[in-house]
């Protein structure tokens, strides 16, 4: 029963010990230790997923306020994604972090963030979730400001305060929910017993909206997205990878939990909140793509892309039907793998060449063909070209949108998805094109193979393969989810 605690406590304690250890252990020892810890944690997660049959109430914070862990299918998906991305990015960083200082600190917080994310996935009620949501912010912002440059520190703080702002907004809602729900334990179909038509109900719609906005901050929702493009370029590449692939997904997870497990879709379906939410997602999708399209710095471009892609997911959530929801979950996985690959390749490029702007990277494909191939494959996935992961998820999303009971958004959604896919192609592919086809005036002689170390390429490869696999065998996942999803709606 206490198994579930292991993948949470182990990395947190390990990270803490690493931080508290005052001497410098030497690079080699450090990476080995961290690697072992990561692997153990991964294993523990799997063990926990397999071995846990029932929830665990750890203790009560105060009356009716238990710290409670439980595992359902959502947890499984998110925690698997977390484990994979964290392991890959972790190994990647063993090389990458060579050119940064204070690695020990980095790994310490990395491990802690890992543990916290696991906890977030396993959280069985809103309070537990909120607790780890806050802790996630606190343990991950050191990753952002790791490089210690002025911009990085500012970016870290920005990330911190935006996230806290969001967290507090959602806390506002939690206060009210607590007093109007029997329990805050995540229950499929929701726990709120108020009709949206009543006077209280209209207030709770407002609360729901505030909570969506609040948790949406972490997921880079439109009015509060500004931290994302600042934080990503400032952070080291592997950190950006986990940030973009997993940590922002915590926002998504939060919204799933709140909307589907607390409020219940029945409460929100057809309300102004859904409309507003849909509008916001569509706006953000489009805007994110546009901004990415215009952005010259590679990592920043990817960051905007994250903003846009996350909103595919949120769009799926906002539609509130089975297809769209499945699509969202698929996109969570697909985007998780793809975006981490993209950031890792970007990291590899920066690590080898030191260049950050897209227009400086002409001919990069000649220098780092393997990396760029991976980049290209996942880019295609993100654009949504079959048979990659992005295609399937977008298909489900579009289908869900078209069949959803959402009025005008039915067509608007599909259209925006399409346009955004085009834009995605527009901002991702130039690098491939310029990289492989630098043009006639490019001096081939100067270029030589510069592939990065194995420890970098293998994680990239793994993730690329996974992203393709999601596209090839989506049925495994959809089948796994079908029953569960139907209980949600």
């Amino acid at each position: 029963m206490y198994l579930i605690l292991l993948p949470i406590l182990f990395p947190i304690l390990a990270g803490f010990c690493l931080l508290a250890y005052r001497k410098d252990p030497g690079r080699k020892l450090l990476t080995i230790t961290t690697g072992i810890c990561l692997v153990i944690t991964g294993a523990l997660v799997v063990v926990a997923l397999m071995g846990t049959k029932q929830g665990l109430t750890l203790f009560h914070l105060t009356k009716k306020l238990p710290i409670y862990f439980n595992i359902d299918k959502i947890s499984v998906i998110f925690s698997l994604l977390t484990v994979i991305v964290f392991l890959c990015a972790g190994f990647f960083s063993f090389v990458y972090m060579k050119h940064e200082q204070k690695e020990k600190r980095y790994y310490g917080y990395y491990l802690m963030a890992f543990g916290v994310l696991n906890a977030l996935c396993f959280a069985g009620n809103l309070i537990t979730f909120y607790l780890f949501f806050e802790l996630l912010t606190l343990s991950s912002f050191p990753l952002v400001l790791h490089t210690g440059s002025k911009e990085a520190v500012m970016a870290g703080l920005k990330y911190l305060f935006y996230s806290l702002c969001g967290a507090y907004a959602s806390l506002f809602g939690i206060y009210f929910l607590y007093h109007n729900c029997e329990t805050l334990t995540f229950t499929a179909g929701g726990v709120l017993q108020i009709s949206p038509a009543s006077r209280e109900g209209s207030f709770f719609l407002l609360i729901a909206f505030v909570m969506i906005l609040g948790f949406g901050v972490k997921a880079g929702m439109f009015p509060m997205h500004a931290w994302l493009p600042t934080a990503h370029p400032a952070a080291p590449a592997p950190a950006s990878a986990v940030l973009s692939a997993v940590i922002v997904k915590a926002g998504v997870l939060a919204l799933i939990r709140v909307i589907y497990f607390i409020f219940g879709t029945g409460f929100l379906q057809g309300s102004w909140v859904q409309t507003a939410w849909l509008t916001l997602t569509l706006v953000t999708i489009f805007m994110g793509s546009m901004l990415a399209y215009r952005e010259p710095v590679l990592k920043k471009r990817l960051a905007y892309s994250t903003v846009s892609q996350l909103y595919y997911i949120l769009f799926g959530l906002a539609v509130m039907n089975e297809e769209a929801f499945t699509g969202s979950l698929l996109h969570v996985l697909a985007h998780g793998f793809i975006k981490s690959t993209l950031f890792l390749t970007a990291g590899a490029i920066i690590y080898t060449t030191g260049k950050t702007r897209v227009d400086e990277l002409r001919g990069i494909g000649k220098k780092m063909p393997f990396t760029m191939w991976c980049y290209t494959i996942v880019s295609l996935g993100l654009i949504g070209i079959p048979p990659t992961g992005g295609f399937v998820s977008k298909w489900y999303l579009a289908m869900g949108g078209l069949t959803g009971d959402i009025g005008i958004f039915r067509y608007l959604g599909a259209a925006v998805l399409l346009v955004s896919a085009l834009l995605t192609a527009g901002y991702l592919l130039p690098l491939t094109i310029q990289g492989f086809f630098p043009g006639a005036d490019y001096d081939d002689t100067a270029c030589r193979k510069q592939e990065p170390a194995r420890l970098m390429t293998i994680p990239i490869l793994c993730l690329t393969i996974l992203s393709v696999l999601v596209g090839l065998f989506p049925n495994i996942i959809t089948n796994y989810l079908t029953d569960f999803v139907s209980t949600l709606l």
Partner: protein, 487 residues
């Protein structure tokens, strides 16, 4: 017995300059012994309290000076007596760098007795009496350094406090005239027959008295004395200006609201609205000023201003739950804030640095101090698992429960303030632990953690912050019982 615990510190304090101590450590042992003894007595008293009232003296008319142990006094006295020995221990170490130790400890120890007097006061007059005394005995502590700044600060403190007391006094008169008794009775003592149609006047007086006591609790616009009083030695700032004095203000307001005027009388009136708006404004105002402030202690002082209004916010919700929230925050905030103040004091003591921007990279030089500071910061922000979350939870819960739209807005204020708290506290932490790439630790090479006398209190506080955060059930239950008048 009750009078004993008030008199022992008084005596001990007076003896400090009179007794010929040969060594400093003798004095320390004497003082610490007296304080601990007193705390033990207080706890004994709390655990074996009787309902009876101890009458010290008749004052005039049917007014008298008398003491009693009830729920609220248990909370406040328990809190104060728990913190005082630790703070005294800390003060020994801190005061090695300051002059006129004897005067300092004289008043510092006397204050203990006076604060207990406030806690144990059985009626409004007694409380008022000790409330005034508290002002007087703490003034020398504020002006301790005798710099121009300190003088100005103490002057301001004195004007504000005495002025506030003057208006609180009017409230006292009202209770004398319109109440059945001045004793504290949960639910209020106003006599509806005597009031007649003077409800509005009484409400006005309540608001005035609220603001009067509110001066000590640093309610906006009467808060500017508190940051200024930060010139006092840190043990004073920490214990008095984060706990004893300012909490007495809050305590007095709770007494006034719940035990004298009574919530039935005030609930839903314009007076409640007014004070709630004032309190909410203060919550946000204090935080935003803290944000602007770069002097560490002043920043913490502004934070105190904001947090005190949390307590008051709970109090002016005027439901048992609200009172529970208020009491919870009263107790928890004391621990959190004293902890962060002591950290600031430790920093000042070890390095003489007092501005936020001077703290770059100190986290690695003083890991304990900054570690504890971080924990208290997180607690103040209200991160779950630490004490601050619980108290905010209770406050917000009460606000939700009250079904008062203004209180809903108050929750928003709480959260805005939490965010601002995060900004001003964490920016210190971030500076200390993440000094930036081009940081040179040469100038602070020799900085290290202080010795055990300073660290021990800090650790104890931290343990409590976490303990209260993780397992608050029993104590919150107790607070609820207090608020509903079981004790």
């Amino acid at each position: 017995m009750i009078i004993c615990v008030i008199l022992i510190p008084l005596l001990a304090g007076i003896l400090v300059p009179l007794l010929p101590f040969r060594k400093r450590c003798h004095k320390e042992i004497f003082l610490e012994g007296a304080v601990i003894l007193n705390s033990i007595l207080v706890w004994y008293l709390l655990l074996h309290h009787s309902e009876s009232t101890f009458l010290l003296a008749h004052f005039t008319g049917d007014l008298n000076i008398s003491f009693r142990v009830d729920g609220m006094s248990m909370v406040f006295a328990g809190l104060v007596s728990g913190l005082w020995p630790l703070a005294t221990l800390y003060a020994f170490e801190y005061m090695t760098k300051e002059d006129h130790e004897n005067t300092f400890f004289l008043f510092y120890t006397i204050t203990y007795g006076v604060t207990l007097g406030i806690a144990f006061a059985a009626n409004l007059l007694t409380m008022y009496f000790f409330y005034e005394l508290l002002t007087l005995v703490t003034v020398p502590l504020v002006m301790h350094t005798l710099t121009r700044e300190a003088i100005l600060a103490s002057r301001k403190y004195l004007y504000y406090s005495l002025g506030g007391a003057a208006f609180a006094f009017i409230g006292l008169i009202m209770i004398i005239v319109y109440g059945t008794t001045t004793d504290f009775i949960l639910g209020g003592v106003l006599d509806p027959l005597k009031i007649g149609d003077r409800t509005n006047v009484l409400l006005l007086i309540y608001v005035m008295a609220f603001m009067g006591f509110g001066v000590k609790a640093a309610v906006c616009p009467f808060n500017s004395w508190l940051p200024q009083a930060g010139v006092a030695p840190t043990p004073v700032t920490a214990l008095l200006h984060a706990v004893a004095v300012v909490k007495s203000g809050a305590f007095a307001i709770i007494r006034l609201t719940y035990y004298s005027f009574g919530t039935d009388f005030l609930q839903g009136t314009w007076a409640q609205t007014t004070v709630m708006i004032v309190v909410m404004f203060t919550i946000v105002y204090g935080c935003s000023r803290a944000l602007k402030e770069t002097h560490i202690k002043r920043r913490l002082a502004y934070s105190t201003i904001s947090n005190l209004s949390y307590i008051l916010f709970g109090a002016v919700i005027m439901t048992p739950l609200g009172l529970t929230g208020a009491i919870t925050h009263l107790a928890f905030h004391a621990v959190m804030k004293i902890s962060s103040f002591f950290c600031a004091g430790a920093i000042m003591h070890q390095t003489d640095k007092r501005y936020v921007h001077e703290l770059n990279g100190m986290g690695y030089k003083m890991p304990w101090v900054f570690g504890i500071f971080t924990i208290s910061s997180l607690a103040l922000m209200g991160v779950p698992g630490l004490a601050g979350f619980i108290s905010k939870w209770n406050l917000a819960g009460a606000a939700v429960d009250s079904k008062n739209p203004l209180a809903y807005a108050g929750i928003a204020c709480l959260l805005i303030s939490a965010l601002l708290t995060a900004i001003y506290m964490l920016s210190i932490v971030v500076r200390a632990f993440f000094p930036g790439r081009d940081f040179d630790d040469g100038p602070i090479q020799n900085v290290h953690d202080p010795n055990w006398k300073m660290l021990l209190p800090l650790m104890v506080f931290t343990v409590f912050i976490i303990l209260f955060g993780v397992h608050s059930q029993p104590i919150v239950d107790f607070f609820y019982d207090v608020a509903t008048g079981v004790y």
